[in-house]
């Protein structure tokens, strides 16, 4: 029903790119596992977890899902809505801190 005009020769990427990304994903996963293995704590743990997470997510999206090669029109449409999620996360962090505060205040301190 919805065939976009077939190009005579669909250009595909060299297999090496995929294998490289594949390898990198394994390495990054190994690193993030090591974060737990060595029991890093506190800010270091958080920043390492997030760093590896975003690197992995970025690699998957950019190369496996081909977003790197897509035109900006599509990329743009997909990434902007994430600001709403970002706002939601930001506010919910403030919210749970407040909830903990009220709970400690009323249940533990006793008002």
């Amino acid at each position: 029903m919805s065939e976009i005009k077939k190009q005579e020769q669909t250009t595909t990427h060299k297999i090496g790119i995929y294998l490289w990304i594949w390898g990198l994903l394994f390495v990054l996963s190994f690193f993030s596992y090591m974060v737990d293995w060595y029991q890093f704590q506190g800010l270091l743990r958080w920043s390492l977890i997030l760093l590896f997470m975003f690197l992995k997510a970025g690699l998957i999206m950019a190369f496996f899902m081909h977003l790197f090669w897509e035109r900006y029109a599509l990329v743009n449409v997909l990434l902007w809505p994430m600001t709403a999620i970002g706002c939601f996360i930001f506010l919910m962090v403030a919210e749970f801190e407040y909830t903990v505060f009220t709970r400690l205040f009323y249940f533990v301190v006793g008002g």
């Binding site: 976009i4 403030a94 919210e95």
Partner: protein
Amino acid sequence: MSEDYNDNKTIQAQSSETISGSGSGVSPDIDYVRPAEIPEQDLYHGHSFITKWVFCQDAKVIGVQYFLLATFTGIIGLILSWLMRLQLGFPELASFMTAEHYYQFVTMHGMIMVVYFLTALFLGGFGNFLIPLMVGARDMVFPYLNMVSFWMFFIAVGVLLASFFVPGGPTGSGWTLYPPQAILEGTPGSGMGIMLMCISLILFVAGFTMGGLNYLITVLQARTRGMTLMRMPLTVWGIFTATVLAMLAFPALLVGALMMSLDNILGTSFFMPTILKAGEVLEYGGGSPILFQHLFWFFGHPEVYIVALPAFGIISDLISVHARKNIFGYRMMVWAIVGIGALSFFVWAHHMYVSGMNPWFGFFFATTTLIIAVPTAMKVYNWILTLWRGNIRLNTVMLWCLGFIVTFVNGGITGIFLGNVTVDVPLSDTYFVIAHFHMVMGIAPLMVIMGAVYHWFPLVAGRFLDEKLGKWHFWLTFLGAYSIYFPMHYLGFIGVPRRYFEMYDSPYMTSAVGMNEFISMAAFIVGAAQFILIYNIIRALKIGKPSGHNPWKACSLEWLTPSVPPEHGNWGERLPVVHRWAYDYSVPGAKEDFITQTTPPSDVANTEVEKT
């Protein structure tokens, strides 16, 4: 980039020397539209009754199906509101109603009207019917998915209505379904009722996602030649943006409904704090009720605009057509729609000022809420400026449009009150809130729906609706709706709380009684007046005046199909080619007072058309 985009000045399509010739001097280059990049859509044509009218893949039929089913559920919602008003105005006549019944009716009325009536009708009904026609597509891009979408909606409605017949009845927790009370014993329908409600919502979201993907991809990827985004009628813009909101907001509802079902069935404590009931601690503990409120309103506020944005879009088109004037500030209107849509994800907690959330949020959300008033106000000014010195035809459609503007301004201004924390705190949970949201997202979108029905009925059926009946319908609805909701503002100011079954021994028992009776009477009349439309439609289908082609002399594509009503595939042999926006009305120098979107520039070379 900006030069390409802001070039909206009126231009002479051709220099005067070329025009002064016999017209042969007009270069055909100005009519050039680049060739099609998408091959023809191959469509599945139904042959039997079942494939043509029941499991149909034609978006127009699906639109009508959505329309009819949504109207049916809407009538149920209307009857529920009558019952509520009977209780509030004349409790002695409503002795068959208990408080539980009342709460159930409140809940079901709210949920039906917001989700199963307005959302389904605007996006499912008008979206399906109008999007392919207005962007010049043969059908939605995934007709099969579109059909499944409707039948999912059908099942969702079935599940919702089934909850009236299960033990305990439907849920009575208010349309916001706030836990913990929604699933605690003592709330009507806390067992089966709320479960069916959650299942129904999940089904609705799933079905709607299928439909929504269709609307989005049709608008983005299946427009006809020459149809740029900035040439689309505002109706399409409104429905499109609303669908984007729906795709991003419904997930929060889905998650909320799912987690509440788990709390209900499995006894998890996502939303359930430690609860002491009759001296006993329930097995719940540690959950956060306010999380549900955040999830619900992260969906709920965009939902308001899911209803409002299609209304904004449709009204812009109706006003433009019936005032014979181009829409004032088209680009501003588009950006206002998009801006409202984007902002609507950042304002949700203004529904929660008194919920006990982090008190700093009040500042953030009051600010964003008041910012969103700016694009909204821009739209209202633009509607008024479109009417300004227009050639207004005061027919039924125009009456509904004017009714919408008045009602919407009214509801919008009370929204500014409620958006401010300090004003909201005393007014929240009073009838002022009821009046506000019924004005702004109940009556106002309803007026648009009515206007749209009178406007597009000739396209669906090839016949006009009766004008006289239509005017009765309008005046009864308009004056009646004001009689209902205007006094409610006052009730709110004196502090009458909403969702109360009766006022018992409070001072409102005496002071509000007369007003409640008056409101109830008006509600009965307005509700009954809606059946005028149904009668009108049935009558018009039989003996209505045939409308012929393009009865309103509109520019947009949906009126330019080779046959009226349009057939499956919409356009016959050739797809239309678009050369201009949808608003070339009363162009100086043109033969007629409208230039259709398909008119090539060389045909109107001696007129002052806007470059779009």
